[in-house]
Symmetry: C2
Subunit: 513 residues, 2 copies
Amino acid sequence: MANPDHSRSHGRRHRRRRSRSTRSVDYHNLRNPFTPLNIYSSDRIVALHNASLQVLQEMGIKVLLPEARKILRDGGALVDDDTQMVRIGADIVEACIRTAPRRIILRAGSREKDVTLELGRLTFLSGAGAPHATDLEGGRRPSSLADYLDLVRLADQFDAIQMQNNMVEAQDIPTHLRHYPVMEAQLELSAKAPSILTRGRRQNLQKFEMLRIFRGLTDDDFTACPHMHTVINTNSPRQLDNPMAQGLIDFARFGQLSIVTPFCLMGAMAPITVAGALTLSHAEALASIALTQLVKPGAPVCYGAFTSNVDMMSGAPAFGTPEQVRANLASGQLARLIGLPWRCAAGTSSKVNDAQAANETQMGLWSSILAGSTIIIHAAGWIEGGLTVSFEKFITDMEVVQMFADLCQIRSGKEDDLALDALREVAPGGHFFGCQHTMERYQTAFYQPLVADWSNIGTWEEQGSKDTTSRAAEIWKEIVNNHVPPAIDLNRLEELRRYIAVCQASGGAPPNS
Amino acid sequence: MANPDHSRSHGRRHRRRRSRSTRSVDYHNLRNPFTPLNIYSSDRIVALHNASLQVLQEMGIKVLLPEARKILRDGGALVDDDTQMVRIGADIVEACIRTAPRRIILRAGSREKDVTLELGRLTFLSGAGAPHATDLEGGRRPSSLADYLDLVRLADQFDAIQMQNNMVEAQDIPTHLRHYPVMEAQLELSAKAPSILTRGRRQNLQKFEMLRIFRGLTDDDFTACPHMHTVINTNSPRQLDNPMAQGLIDFARFGQLSIVTPFCLMGAMAPITVAGALTLSHAEALASIALTQLVKPGAPVCYGAFTSNVDMMSGAPAFGTPEQVRANLASGQLARLIGLPWRCAAGTSSKVNDAQAANETQMGLWSSILAGSTIIIHAAGWIEGGLTVSFEKFITDMEVVQMFADLCQIRSGKEDDLALDALREVAPGGHFFGCQHTMERYQTAFYQPLVADWSNIGTWEEQGSKDTTSRAAEIWKEIVNNHVPPAIDLNRLEELRRYIAVCQASGGAPPNS
């Protein structure tokens, strides 16, 4: 269905400008090249896990949705409908951990865009959920559907972004109609698995139906495996609201992927200590996972954690801090303890695409990767603590993401030999530019940069003394302007549009909150 | 001798502006918090080590200095004075590795500034060796003594920079006189161990004498332990020039610290493969270490590696690339194989303090730290591939360096508890801002940023919409303007100045090259 040439076209257009590299890389199917790094002893991780079980069993979690409380009660939890509190026994939680799949294959629009999620794999997602967009020329504004489309195109272009994500809100579309163009855009412009926000059952079911129609699936085909993903944020501390509980239930029931992620800010919605925040985060994640498994054992669900701290002066969230690094590493240990694929996050509170933005994001990226995170969200474009997506930062972040993807490429044998013959060939004080060993490899030896400028200052000045943000502005526009969507079945697109028209005519679907 | 208050004053002045933190940290004495990360199998590392021994034994290294060839010949190496080639047997090299110290204590102007170097320890040094300086207001210029002094003050201010370093060349001082004010500045403005460049015996001995006089040491005191350090770069491939060989000899003879660092750019002065470049780099480092140990067994010497790649289109050096990450990690494995403390490096080829600069530097920093590097050079301020030191980048890099230093602080027990009582206290959907658990810890829980701005966009705009480089410009000026040098013995300063005057009157000491 997808254009077979398309999957090979990644980066070639903008690379062509600067490089004659003929290097062959696979940035889509990544295995983490690093041994996971522990920050706590395994005893302490077990103690933390047990403390989380104790929180769920003794203190419980407030579940606002009656349907969710019923499912949990039917599963053996102690439910008080007056207080909406649900206490879940450790045995129930442990049983649910056992039925959650260790390996999930997320189906895309074409097989080469499918994504396998399990511990040891590595995927990157763009920054998500922002109400604003910004770029060098247009400045900061409430994000629109036009921004949304451009960001879908950008995410489609890069192999190292394995799935689509809801980068910004299409604020120029009313909320009861927004999910139609947003879903259509993801399907039409990209073969990668789309992301949806869960905003009530009616919207959820319509989104399922849109994908089913567009992909030409039967109901059974659709529910047989996940074709889309959603991020479920708890309302820390210890609360699960209606749309999130509804999402967990609907996604589990229809076999779609929930990525469960408490967003715990130490000192604010979570205890001020790393271990305390993780006790809470882990408890909330386990309760959410339990709900999915009580709906349907084996339902696809990812564990998740996004834990950072606030500035205790102002309450403002901070990202890329030493505390987030510790929390990310410890979250990886918890994920390995329960054996599930999991998501983590990078981010920055910088307002612009400057050195702070890069530094904070990279602290998050490195720690997520070293933590063995399966899905790293907000890996590209996210600034201002998630309130804005920057088009230029998307590009400068992709440089880092691609470097990590490059580190995942296995290089040995001829590609990485000891070069004794070359060392014999080149005289002391000489150089290796022209030797045979170099000539055989120079086109494929090194990572080719996307936006980095390695030239000397004279050349750089001749080319306009552009900083990386200015260069990124040129690159994202070139990608967006030249984006080639995947080949699609026009009959199915027509059918999708008819379905949307019917839904719109009947008043759309208001978000449920 | 040093002002006892000074060692505690780190960061307090500029922190005071933004924080009521009362957190107590030790950023001077750091132990690497992470398990070293391997990139090659141990078999491959042994093969690489053996290949390096083979290079030295079969191909040899060209040593330009007759005195160095004599020392190597006396130590058993095969020397051809016509070709200046020296072939060193593997047994000689292995014996020299065994006599090189595993643990080195570098003495500073006061005991709390002493630095212990051994595997597992972690120190950061500023960017070094640049012929240019730049700052936001003054722009890029040939660096001067005034720049040098300001950079010594900056490096002195931060505990997470453990030693001084020759950040820029004082180009307004003739080379035969430059080492006098440069050495005096390091001694007078900072109690941290100074760095010198080795530019011939006469300069070396004068620098030794300057420190001996200023610290009030006998000749025996001086040679009993290292009081200063120098970086020795080989002239890759397989060549050791006069000033470098002279430096190795003089430093070893007088018990001062050489940090041996081949600067190997894959595809240029080194083979294009990571393993090939490291075969060369390791061989050159071992030859240099051998020279020090043949001068004086047990002489303080650090292993070192600085291996990155070039752009094969232009030959321009690149930093923070995936290839440098691999090389750094593998260099750490080689250092652990021989058991010596070692240096690594971060850097960027960006021309300005932008996102590229931050991203490339941080790729180098993370990989150096994960490689278990004992000394990370160019950790702050280095741009344009080392041709320029940026005052603003010094500050934005120090944010990252301080975050790493913070990760080295051990936090457990009350500082990082599971917070079950706090979780009981706060109702579902509530917050932890005011709970007792938070109140007991909020002043000390989190890392306090140096230059990062975590405020919301409204506050940030009210404060002038300054990016991190603009804020850094304010911070470095504040530090430089308010720098308090350590208390010093004025008689010794007077004696030092008399010595310098005598040297100057006799024509200084031309650099030997």
